[in-house]
Each structure stands twice: as C-alpha cells, then as structure tokens.
C-alpha cells in the first residue's frame, strides 16, 4: 500500500512542472535540569528535523496533489532517528463532493488542552506529549456539502502504531513500551479497515460537530510483559473500539466557549469523558497592541482510577499573549493541576520571527509537587528547557 502510494506520488511530482515547494528545517536542543529518574536516560540532546512539502494542481484546478514528509535525526536517542509521510494526497473537487485519497493528517475538535474527539490519526508521541504531532493515515475520504451541514465519510485502511520514547528518552513511564511486541484484538491486526463519519455545521456563532468512529483504537492499553532478555516492559494492546464524539464552539463577544465530549466502547472499558472551558480575550491591554487570552478548561474521565490516563480530572489554566508586532511574537503559558493529586505541571512557550525566514522558540516545562500515587510521578525529574531555531522556505 505504502509503496503504491509513493509511486503514485512520485509520478505526480514528475508530471507536474509547476509545483509549490515549502517547509522548514529546524535545530532543537533539549536540556533536562535534574538527574534522570531511570537508568540510561539522557540529560540533553540535539536534533535536526526537516518538513518539506510539495503541492500542485492539474485539470483546471479540480485536482490537487500534495506530499509532506517529516524526518528527524537525534544525536543520542535512536528512537528519534526517523521519518514519516505526513501527507501524500490526491484531492478531487466535484461540485459539492470533495474526494481525498492517500495519506493525510486531519484535525477534529476545538479544545486547547486535550484532544478527545480527534481520533483519525495516530499520535506521534516521541515528537511531543501534547498530541498535536500526528502520523499520516491512509484514507479514502469523501466530504459532502449539504444545505443542512457537511458530511465526512472516511474509510481507513491500515493502522499506524503509536510511537513511544525509547529507553534513553525522557518523559516516559518507568517501564519502556516495547513497540515490537504490539498485539491486536482483531485478527486483521494492523490491516483492519476502520470507518468514521462526521457531521458538522455552523449555526451563527455556534459551530457543532458530531462524529462516529469504529475500528482500531489509536490509544493502546499498556499490558505488563517482558522483552527477549526477560526484562519487564509494557506491551501495547490495540483494541477495537466504537466512539461517539461531540465538539462545539460558541463565540460570544470576547468569549469563546469550547466543549468536547466522547463515549467510547471497547472490551477493556466503556467510558465517557469530556473537556470543557472558555477563552476570554483582553484586547490591546494597557494601551499597547498586545492581546491577552485567558483560557480555563476542565477535563473529566469517568473510568476508575488506574484505568484513566494522566489527564483525567485536571484543570488547565492558560494565558496567551499575542504582541501583534512585526515578528509575530507570542507567549503561551499553561498550568495543569490535577484535582485528585494536586500535582502541577507548568509549561511556557515563547516564539518570534527573526528576519523574514527564521523563527525561534523557547519552551520551559516543569512538573512540581507530584503525588507519588499519580502516574505523572514518572515525569517528576523531567523539567526541561527546549530551544528551537527553524528556517522556513
């Protein structure tokens, strides 16, 4: 399947004289302040990544193609020497129908601190724990416009396993996840064909989305096991699941209200979860051109303790400064407070442009007063600073 798509992509690239080329190359340094919690973990690392994209059109603009690749090389962590096809897509426009065939990355949902509804793509977890970096997913996708809303029908052949930190990696659980031993509930394993349907519509200032997914859960259950040397490891088990999701956003004056809600049914557990909150923006604060957005979101998950993930009964409080200057400078700061354990994690990220083509990002993440019962305890010594310089073309 992959090879077929790649051939198709290359054929397109070569047949297309006018292709648009863009992307970035980035150098990133990560430094951890505290000694490692587990043996073999690293204290700092340097990585180089590239994300080139080509796109073009033919057939008078009714057919478009795009290819987006991602590659990273790490000076220490082998698990981060890797590449992925984020997009290899043919888009065909046919009146009120849009067809997308190939590998694509989609984003569903509205909340900022957690992405419950967004289940089409697998998370590329070694690239970040916020779930916003995703692996490309093979799909046949029909988008159909009706007067009463937009319908998306997706057929998803082929499954991508979640990436996990290696033994050297920081920000991981005590036991390493052995991705080579991944097991599936379905006998089709990673060849199971999944389906999804989404309805979405705008009603004035309200945006509403309803979604349904049936297939292999992107979220593995981690089961105790051992590797070939007999060391304890975690083995990812990918179950079959059905998920219903609702996402809604309402804009009212200086407020934006957001809600995501899911009901998921799987062998190990049936559960409900939601994330809800608001963003309130103070415009032109202190007579400057800076806007300050204040975000508050609450996440709830009704699974029993131990079965839920790290973000179960958490409050997210964030602030977003947009300086509206020539360099598009921005600062984002966020606290996550676990209401069960009173654990706190804090992250602040600042970025700005340098000249016309460079962008610098500085990010600080800390974990404080983590309760020893909280699964987040594994990350307690992983406070770190990240500096990234990216060149865009």
């Amino acid at each position: 399947m992959r090879r077929l798509l790649l051939c198709f992509g290359l054929a397109l690239v070569s047949s297309q004289a006018v292709a648009d080329f863009s992307g970035n190359i980035a150098l990133e340094s990560q430094s951890f302040f505290e000694s490692t919690r587990f043996d073999d973990q690293l204290d700092n690392n340097l990585t180089l990544s590239a994300k080139p994209k080509w796109s073009g059109e033919w057939g008078g603009g009714d057919d478009l193609w795009s290819v987006e690749l991602f590659a990273r090389a790490d000076n220490k962590d082998d698990e981060r020497n890797r590449g992925d096809v984020r997009e290899l897509l043919w888009l065909h426009l046919d009146g009120d129908n849009e067809w997308r065939v190939g590998i694509n990355t989609m984003f569903w949902g509205v909340t900022e601190s957690r992405h419950l509804v967004d289940v089409i793509n697998q998370i590329d977890q070694v690239e970040g724990i916020d779930g916003e970096e995703k692996l490309g997913q093979p799909m046949i996708h029909l988008k159909r416009y009706q007067d009463w809303g937009v319908l998306d029908f997706l057929i998803l052949p082929g499954f991508r396993e979640r990436t996990f930190q290696s033994v050297e990696g920081r920000l991981r659980a005590p036991l390493v996840v052995d991705t080579d031993q991944a097991v599936y509930e379905s006998s089709d394993e990673d060849q199971h064909v999944d389906f999804a349907i989404r309805f979405s519509q705008t009603y004035g200032d309200l945006d509403l989305g309803l979604s349904w997914f049936d297939g292999t859960s992107r979220d593995p259950v981690l089961v105790a096991g051992s590797d070939s040397d007999g060391n304890p490891v975690l083995v990812p088990l990918y179950e079959q699941m059905t998920q219903f999701g609702v996402d809604a956003q309402l804009i009212y004056e200086d407020w934006i209200w957001r809600l995501e809600m899911i009901h998921r049914e799987a062998d190990s557990n049936d559960f409900n979860a939601y994330t809800a909150g608001f963003e309130y923006t103070f415009y032109a604060i202190l007579d400057s051109e800076t806007d300050l957005g204040v975000l508050l979101e609450y996440s709830y998950d009704d699974r029993a303790e131990g079965d839920r993930g790290v973000f179960d009964r958490d409050v997210f409080l964030g602030g977003r400064f947009a300086f509206n200057d020539v360099q598009s400078s921005e600062i984002l700061a966020g606290f996550v407070i676990d209401t069960n354990y009173a654990s706190q994690s804090f992250r602040v990220e600042g970025n700005r442009r340098f000249g016309d083509s460079w962008k610098g990002t500085l990010e600080l993440q800390t974990f404080t007063s983590i309760d020893s019962e909280d699964p987040l305890i594994a990350l307690e010594q992983d406070d770190h600073l990240l500096l990234e310089i990216a060149y865009y073309f």
């Binding site: 648009d20 009146g95 705008t202």
Partner: protein, 260 residues
C-alpha cells in the same frame, strides 16, 4: 442668549444649509453612490505585497493572495492566502464580512492542519504587524458608518467629496475618519483616521488607480502612515483579475484547502 438665537436664525436662513438635504444626508448619499458604482464586480483576485517600515527604516515584507466574492445584500466574502513570511506560508484567513454584525472569521493553520473559527472582535488590532488595522481592510459597507458631508476639494488630478464618517460598528479604534472620494469614479483617494483620543493617528493615500472591465477602479498602491509612532506600510496590488469564476464553494470554511 439672544445673540446665539439670532445667530442660529441667520445660519438657518442662509441658502444651501436650509435646503431639504442636510450634510448628513448628503454624506450618506455619497457613500450609497460609491457602493452602487462598485456593484456587479462579481469577484476579483489580486496579489498584495505589503512592505512594513519602522521609524529607523527597517523593512519587512508580506505577500498575500486575495480572493474576493461579491455577496448580494451582505458584505463580501474574502479569502487571504499567505505566501510570505515563510513561517506562515499556506495560512489562510476566510472572512464573511457583514455590515453592523460582527464578521465571521476562520483561520486555516497548515502546521496543525486545523481550521479554527476565530473571533473578529479585534477590529482595531494591527494586521500582520502592519499599520493597517483589520477594520481598514474590510469591505466598505454603507451601514458601517454615519456620515457628514464637509466640502468639495481638489485631490490629486480630480475633484473630491470630502466626507467625515463615524464608525457605527462596535470596537472600532477610531472616533472618526475623513475621506476624500473622487466625484467621477468614486475612488477612495485619501483617508485620515482619528484615534479614541480624537487625535490624528494615521493617513492612508491611494494611488496608481487602474480601471477594470471598463468601469471598476482599484488602487495599485496604498500607503498608510502612522503619525504617532513613525511606522508606515505600503500595499502594492498586482495581477488584479475580475470575474474569475469564483463561487460560494471556494469560500467554505471547511474547504480551506481548495484554493492553494
């Protein structure tokens, strides 16, 4: 007191001012005529090169491809595709402009592949760090202002109506604008913007006008100078094309991938 009453009576009997049409009515009439003159363009696309200049002369460039669709009985729909600076390349901004109601606005973020509905409340904020505010770039709907006709005056090679207008929509950064509109082609030749403290904030001068479809005038250059901080922004418009066949389908929020 008697003096004032006498003065007012005299003022009212001066021919011209006592006629049926007041300065407010004449101002409105000019705005309506300008809108009517521009009616029927259907759609147009153009490339916009923005050069931002600060007090010490440092410059920074933005390149944006604009697509505009005329909408009957409502504000236009516009889709802006960012080409430069490179870190925002592929970002798209879709706006359904309205008269007095807040605009509907969506942003497509290519890094996240996410379409995000955003608030259009920030009318007075700078657009891409330039001296243009979002409200300076929106479509010119008649009901957005109340008007007062001031005088006729020579402007560039034309004779202009000079009209004062006061924002009727919420959250404007201005208390008033003074605009120079030429009497023949309704070209918006010059605008002065007065801030919330009523001081002169910015001046916009449009030039290098070209006529399209034998009727519609569009500026080739627009220079906005901020008198208070010494910054300026030059907009150069290139490759204007009218009636390109754009339809409502090209302006759907879900479909921001359609125009590359």
């Amino acid at each position: 007191m008697i003096k004032i009453v006498t003065f007012m009576v005299v003022m009212l009997t001066i021919p011209g001012l006592s006629q049926a049409q007041t300065a407010a009515e004449k101002g409105l009439e000019i705005a309506q005529a300008a809108k009517a003159y521009d009616k029927g363009f259907t759609d147009f696309t153009a490339d916009m090169v923005m050069t931002l200049k600060n007090k010490s002369g440092d410059t920074s460039t933005r390149v944006i491809r604009m697509h505009t669709l005329e909408v009957e009985n409502d504000g236009d729909k516009t889709l802006s595709v960012f080409d430069q600076p490179a870190d925002v390349k592929g970002t798209k901004m879709l706006t359904y402009t309205h008269g007095l109601e807040p605009d509907d606005q969506w942003l497509y973020l290519p890094a996240l592949k996410k379409v995000k509905r955003i608030s259009s409340r920030n009318k007075s904020g700078p657009f891409m760090g330039s001296t243009f505010a979002f409200e300076d770039l929106g479509s010119q709907e008649v009901e957005k202002y109340t008007y007062l006709y001031l005088r006729d005056e020579a402007c560039a090679e034309w004779t202009c109506f000079v009209v004062e207008r006061y924002p009727a929509y919420k959250h404007s950064g201005y208390t008033r604008q003074v605009v120079w509109i030429d009497r023949e082609g309704y070209r918006l030749v010059k605008s002065e913007f007065y801030d919330r403290k009523k001081s002169l904030l910015k001046t916009l001068v449009a030039s290098d006008f070209q006529q399209f479809l034998g009727h519609y005038w569009r500026p080739g250059k627009m220079n906005m100078v901020n008198h208070q901080n010494g910054k300026s922004t030059l907009l150069e418009w290139k490759n204007y094309q009218f009636k390109t066949g754009l339809t409502e389908r090209d302006f759907r929020s879900q479909s921001l991938k359609r125009i590359q």
